[in-house]
Symmetry: C2
Subunit: 261 residues, 2 copies
DNA sequence: CGGGGCCTTGAGCGACCTCAATAAGCGTGG
DNA sequence: CCACGCTTATTGAGGTCGCTCAAGGCCCCG
């Protein structure tokens, strides 16, 4: 699929400017004009959920679509074999609520206290017939989401874990909600196991990879959840010709120094 | 994102019935009513491309959206580090042509001789304002594509390669174009390296995995490109509790027989 | 101070990748 | 028809990245 309307509409639902983000390209966001905003407000229902609440479960009956206003939402798919995969993190401005045959395909969980907007599907459909432009906004949103998904897939198939983690850090820095561009501090809102499940690996490996990145001075860690990334360095790592990126995580990078007695 | 209109519209662009497919759930398909069909025909341009032709290159200027009529199209993303990832295979009825900032994000290649339909973006946009229902169809298409993408991601993160390959075979069997439900013969149109790049692995590993599946009687191979899958068995493998699926590919499955002298 | 989350670190092993050789399919031309 | 080359697929052997299991810090809160 594709974006039939290539340029976003006037007003953004999302917090601030994104042109300043590294790795440009719109984040999945429903963008509405002021009129549409009021139109939508008529059918929107505001919801507050506290951290660690399940917003909807995988396979449950679907009749609502959501929009993040504040906070962070995690989309997880529980695999039949027990493992679980984090499919996405949704930030303010992002829509979510993918379903099929009236059942949600995944589970949505609030990672922080969240403020959400909720739409009944039938209402939304009605509104679409009244204002095709609104539907257009949703189409663009869907396509943006699609791009994000492909990006995610590409990240996960980067075999060397170091690259995956590097890519993840870069992605996070595109979110103004957790990356303070002026201080250069990135706040990791999700825990290690969320990151691991997002990248298709394990907590231990994520931890080790972050350690290596720190050794290589590609990130500096204030604490486990606050890092100062060297974005250009990380990007260089990402596009590096595999060899240097394969950087064995195991070897604690003892240089060639012959062991001094 | 989500499907604001949950039920497909009357007429399918796609070949035949899909309810009979294993693992139901709509394949990404633009579904149009007869009127929409004629409406769209006004701006559609029919294109023939022969096998192995690049339809558009990654990063090239995007102004067209495509729809597969006949044949198979492969979407590939070339990674900066040299590797390449197959993002999707598109069958008759599927739209493609994802872009961002007027540049195609990926490369589209015809794997077989193809018959395509081509739309200029601006034309399509105009048509959307005239017939919002048409836009609705495209929205549904985008959402369907999104589901496929998530499915793909889940497949690829299934770590044990055996499961990935099993899942791939099952997916293929959902395509009436290559799976003959009556004979039970599946024709693999793509070559091993396409499969490998789709699953995020290597040709050798795909080859070995197929070998194991054959040993386990989960598939029978007429030749390299024609297999007779045991769908229920494969599905059982997919949901199996990891242990048995980890089936070491290496060991040529010499049973426990103590070596007879 | 003790307990329970998180995160990190360690040691060992195994699934998969890599590289390399062999085999099978297929068209072309003698 | 077979010889020849080219592409595609399979098979083999060895090395290694990342997983597993297990122990040890760190931090918060009672």
């Amino acid at each position: 699929m594709d974006a039939p309307v290539s340029r976003p509409l006037p007003l953004r639902a999302r917090a601030e400017d994104q042109r300043t983000q590294p790795e440009a390209g719109p984040v999945p966001t429903i963008v509405l004009s002021p009129e549409q905003r009021t139109l939508v407000a008529g059918i929107a229902q505001s919801v507050q959920v506290s951290a660690k609440t399940v917003i909807y479960g995988q396979g449950t009956h679907a009749e609502m679509v959501f929009l993040v206003r504040k906070g962070l939402v995690r989309i997880t798919h529980q695999l039949e074999d027990g493992r679980s995969q984090v499919l996405a993190f949704h930030w303010p401005g992002d829509p979510f609520g993918l379903f099929e045959n009236d059942a949600y395909l995944n589970e949505a969980t609030a990672l922080t206290d969240c403020e959400l907007e909720r739409f009944r599907l039938s209402d939304l459909r009605d509104l679409f017939t009244k204002d095709p432009q609104l539907q257009s906004a949703f189409l663009i949103g869907a396509v943006a989401e699609l791009r994000m998904n492909q990006r995610h897939l590409l990240l996960v198939t980067h075999r060397p874990i170091l690259k995956r983690v590097a890519g993840f850090v870069i992605e996070c820095c595109r979110q103004p909600e957790c990356y303070n561009a002026s201080t250069g501090i990135l706040t990791l809102i999700m825990d290690r196991s969320d990151i691991a499940d997002y990248l298709g690996t394990t907590v231990e490996t994520v931890s080790r990879a972050l350690g290596v990145l720190e050794n290589r001075k590609l990130i500096m860690r204030r604490d486990a959840r606050h890092v100062h990334p060297d974005l250009t360095g990380l990007k260089r790592l990402l596009i590096s010709p595999e060899a240097e990126a394969t950087g064995r995580i195991d070897i604690p990078s003892l240089p060639l120094s012959p062991r001094c007695p």
